[in-house]
């Protein structure tokens, strides 16, 4: 008798735990969804698209999610029903149930129906693949070459004569007069992947290979992303910011980037430090003898909000720390610690701050 009760309570507790887990899961999912859907947060969710490719992916995703959710509901209901209904009842253990070996009709049904579902899913998918990958490039498109480096991004605008790093500026695209941005993706070393979830799906940057992708942002703002293909020690801090500007703001930015660097005569000490140390091996400053290409172009360094591929804010303190000891911000980055005296370091930072 006691044993029977214990068994009964065991199942009751089991069911209660099961129900609690499910309820907790639903509550958690609901709270997360509401948090993620608030309009003002910077979460780079793939379900908050701001560009045509990202948008059509969301449409396809909703369709796929709906079908898979339906399949889940049907199959999980059947499974749950079977588990609840056909449990062995006490006192009935001696007799074996009817031995059924199979049924050709049923097998046929659950082969044909999934095949039909697969055909539908495939056709819907193929349409979106074609729409995104085979989209023609309009005359008005902005062309950018993105080059992945360990662990930062180089952006070159060949038609506009601009070179920058880590923070991509592109114009917003008006559906009536589209100015989409077409990216040509290259790599200087290992594999990388360009992923800004709200603007487009990811595309890899692979050495010895040219890949292409495009996006036509519908609204201005800053969109966050990062490298999505493991590329070495500091893969985690290879961050990416895309600034979508109004056409006017974009033109202003381009014009400013095209300006040669204005040398401030007061900072000649810092400039001499820069030009006589290893800095110039890797970094370029337009119009000077610094023409290195292993590191980001510094001509308009101060026009960027972040340094070290988004790992730190572009402030005086961070610049100083970064030059003195890069490992403090980004351990394993390829920037060496420059071992400068305090006086040289201060002068160098002052010089960098003139690179507007």
């Amino acid at each position: 008798m006691a044993k029977k009760y214990r068994g009964k309570w065991g199942t009751v507790i089991g069911r209660v735990i099961g129900v609690l887990v499910i309820v907790a899961g639903i509550l958690l999912a609901a709270s997360l969804c509401t948090a993620a859907l608030r309009a003002d947060n910077p979460v780079p969710s793939i379900f908050r698209p701001h560009s045509t490719p990202a948008d059509s992916i969301v449409h396809l995703s909703r369709f796929v999610l709906a079908i898979t959710a339906l399949i889940f509901l049907v199959v999980a209901t059947l499974l749950t029903y079977a588990v609840a209904k056909f449990r062995n009842k006490a006192g009935d253990a001696q007799r074996e149930p009817a031995q059924v070996y199979g049924s050709t009709q049923i097998e046929l049904a659950w082969t044909v129906i999934p095949i039909l579902i697969v055909v539908v899913l495939f056709l819907a998918t193929a349409r979106v693949i074609h729409a995104i990958q085979d989209a023609p490039k309009p005359e008005t498109a902005v062309e950018v070459t993105a080059i992945g480096h360990q662990f930062w991004w180089e952006f070159r605008y060949p038609a506009l004569g601009v070179v920058t790093a880590n923070e991509l500026h592109i114009p917003v695209s008006d559906p009536d007069h589209p100015t989409p941005t077409f990216l040509k993706l290259l790599s200087a070393d290992t594999d990388h992947s360009f992923w800004v979830p709200q603007l487009a799906g990811k595309s890899d940057l692979i050495p010895n290979r040219v890949n292409e992708m495009w996006m036509d942002p519908h609204s201005t703002g800053i969109f966050l992303g990062q490298c999505a293909q493991y590329c070495g020690t500091q893969h985690a801090k290879m961050l990416l910011r895309v600034s979508v500007d109004s056409p006017e703001a974009f033109q202003v930015w381009i014009d400013a980037q095209k300006q040669p660097v204005i040398q401030d005569e007061k900072e000649t000490v810092g400039r001499r430090v820069f030009e006589t140390t290893a800095c110039v091996n890797c970094h370029a400053v337009g119009g000077t003898n610094a023409t290195g290409r292993f590191g980001p172009d510094l001509t308009h360094l101060m026009s960027r909000r972040t340094i070290a591929a988004g790992a730190a804010e572009n402030t005086k303190e961070n610049l100083r720390l970064w030059i003195q000891n890069p490992d403090a911000i980004k351990p394993g980055s390829l920037m060496p610690a420059m071992q400068l005296t305090d006086a040289d370091l201060d002068a160098l930072v002052r010089y960098l701050e003139t690179l507007q």
């Binding site: 793939i46 059947l78 499974l79 990958q133 979830p197 799906g201 595309s203 070495g232």
Partner: protein, 557 residues
């Protein structure tokens, strides 16, 4: 550790000195002992791989955490992946195949007993070499120890320019050697199943476990060979000045991807098909009905094996293939869902109208069915190439394949442990500890891997040692980490149960589950020669025929 446990086992029985017992185990060519060696080997590596996972989860518990350095974190995910696939999942499945296949087809041993031992020791050497990299990996270069190139080791990260020292070489050689071990064991399983069946056991009467292991072994031959070829090419690149994957000299990074994934995707099915086999043996026994649609189950498995050989590039949707290639790999990948669905429906059909008995093995099987269903459906999402451009390389993918490997493979394996432990050791596992293990693991699993889908959707890439706050990932990662610890506790309960029951568990007898396949007709543990006289069978369920002479299966065969 393994030798201790085993020494106790036979020392108690025979009173032989432990050195002699150890010698017997090291030189054994008995399929049951080799099976146990494989399983113990895998369990040790399961603990190591689990510790590596825990280190990663502690690091990712909150943004900008500094529990480990990026270098250590990158080694941890490389070693975790490599260990879990090559030195946990494959050996434990080979272990069960080794132990069970001859018993289930009425044979006295595998076809090539010495090849069997040779294959096991190759695998063991591979595992040892992989971990020896912690000592020898840095070489004379002062470079990092232990491989940090990721378990799929994409070129050109593995070239000498990006991976100085010897850590990548240890990784390469470890997989090459254990790969030869896997090939040897597969040849052995195929030969055993095709040539060693007892009288009356036609292919159509074989237990599904034998069928599915036959298919799995065939896939190992097709999948491991390109991986071994790629490892050899990588060694030529690193030591003989070759340029297969050396992009700085004009080599191809995508060539490695193709080689790796034409191994890597079939590998998933190499791991899941034996687990299908466990479920196909356990669900019928605890439903008290034969498997529903046996021929369709065999057909669906063979179909999965074939189709899965043409889906590899769905791991490469983001590398810039043209739209036709992307569409092709979308349809082939979705097509795998059809035979896989058929299998789920057939297990459902087996349970339908049965009398379900909820012992621990059955609980794990039911967990498997629900979780494998979800894993399959997230797989369908990932197969739609444009959706994949968003999800690939993100935590959504990590959640998806852990749903397959933990929610599917590991749950089926736990079921197999609870089901066959009595046959292997002669003692039952403790049922209460088993249920505690099941519920704890279920809660931990869902906390970790259900939640893990969400940061992927919110833009969190995989393989990052730290992340920025303010992107909506913080709370989610904390929940995932807590779930990991619950899984760790559950696994400790399991380990305690394995050890406790070995000494104190009730005696199992020949046939504790009232089952129907041949392994339950012999004593537990089975005698060295398995069968005193080779049995003759007349149907798929020889023990059913013996127990129900009034209504034997053979009447309908």
């Amino acid at each position: 550790m393994s030798s201790d446990v085993m020494a106790i086992k036979t020392a108690g029985a025979s009173g032989k000195p432990w050195v002699e017992t150890l010698h017997e185990w090291v030189t054994t060519v008995d399929h049951k002992r080799l099976g146990i060696l494989y399983i113990l080997f895998a369990l040790i590596f399961l603990v190591i791989g689990g510790i590596e996972a825990t280190i990663m989860r502690i690091q990712l518990m909150r943004p900008h955490n500094d529990f480990v350095s990026p270098q250590v974190f990158n080694r941890m995910f490389t070693m975790h992946g490599t260990t879990m696939i090559f030195f946990v999942a494959m050996p434990v499945l080979f272990g069960f195949a080794n132990f069970l296949v001859p018993l289930m087809i009425g044979a006295r041993d595998m076809a090539f007993p010495r090849l069997n031992a040779f294959s096991f020791w190759l695998t063991a050497l591979g595992g040892f070499l992989l971990y020896f990299s912690f000592v020898g990996g840095s070489g004379l270069y002062g470079a990092g120890n232990a491989p940090d190139v990721g378990w799929w080791a994409y070129a050109p990260l593995t070239s000498r320019a990006f991976s100085p020292g010897h850590s990548t070489d240890y990784w390469t050689i470890a997989l090459l050697i254990s790969g030869f071990g896997s090939i040897g064991t597969s040849i052995n399983i195929i030969a055993t199943i095709l040539c060693m069946r007892c009288p009356g056991m036609t292919l159509g009467r074989m237990p599904l476990l034998a069928w599915l292991n036959l298919v799995m072994s065939g896939m190992v031959l097709l999948a491991i060979t390109p991986l071994s070829a790629a490892q050899l090419m990588l060694m030529v690149d690193r030591y003989l000045g070759g340029h297969f994957f050396d992009t700085q000299a004009g080599g191809s990074a995508t060539l490695w991807m193709h080689f790796f994934w034409i191994f890597g995707h079939p590998e998933v099915y190499v791991l899941i098909i034996p687990c299908f086999a466990f479920v196909s043996e356990i669900v019928p026994v605890f439903s008290r009905k034969p498997i529903f649609g046996y021929p369709v189950m065999v057909g669906a498995t063979v179909c999965i094996a074939f189709v899965s050989l043409s889906v590899w590039a769905h791991h490469m949707f983001t590398i810039g293939m043209n739209s036709y290639a992307n569409a092709f790999f979308t349809i082939t990948t979705m097509a795998v869902g059809v035979p896989t669905g058929i299998k789920i429906f057939n297990w459902l059909g087996t349970m339908w109208g049965g009398k379900l008995i909820f012992k621990t093995p059955m609980l794990f099987c039911i967990g498997f069915l629900f979780q494998f269903l979800i894993a399959g459906l997230t797989g369908i999402m990932l197969s739609a190439a444009p959706f994949n451009w968003q999800l690939s390389g993100s935590y959504f993918v990590v959640a998806h394949f852990h749903y397959v490997i933990v929610g599917g493979i590991l749950f089926a394996l736990f079921a197999a442990f609870y089901y066959w432990y009595p046959k292997i050791t002669g003692r039952m596992l403790n049922e209460s500890l088993g249920k505690l293990h099941f519920w704890l693991f279920l809660i931990g699993f869902h906390m970790t891997f259900d939640v893990m889908h969400i940061p992927g959707i919110l833009g969190m890439p995989r393989r990052i040692y730290t992340y920025e706050p303010g992107r909506g990932w913080n709370t989610l990662n904390l929940i995932i980490t807590i779930g990991t610890f619950i899984q760790g506790i559950a696994t400790s309960v399991f380990a305690a149960n394995l050890i406790f029951s070995y000494f104190k568990g009730p005696r199992a007898g020949n046939d504790p589950w009232d089952a129907w396949t041949l392994e339950w007709s012999v004593s537990s543990p089975p005698p060295e020669y398995n069968f005193a006289s080779i049995p003759t069978v007349a149907s798929r369920r020889p023990l059913w025929d013996r127990k129900h002479p009034e209504d034997p299966d053979s009447r309908y065969d």
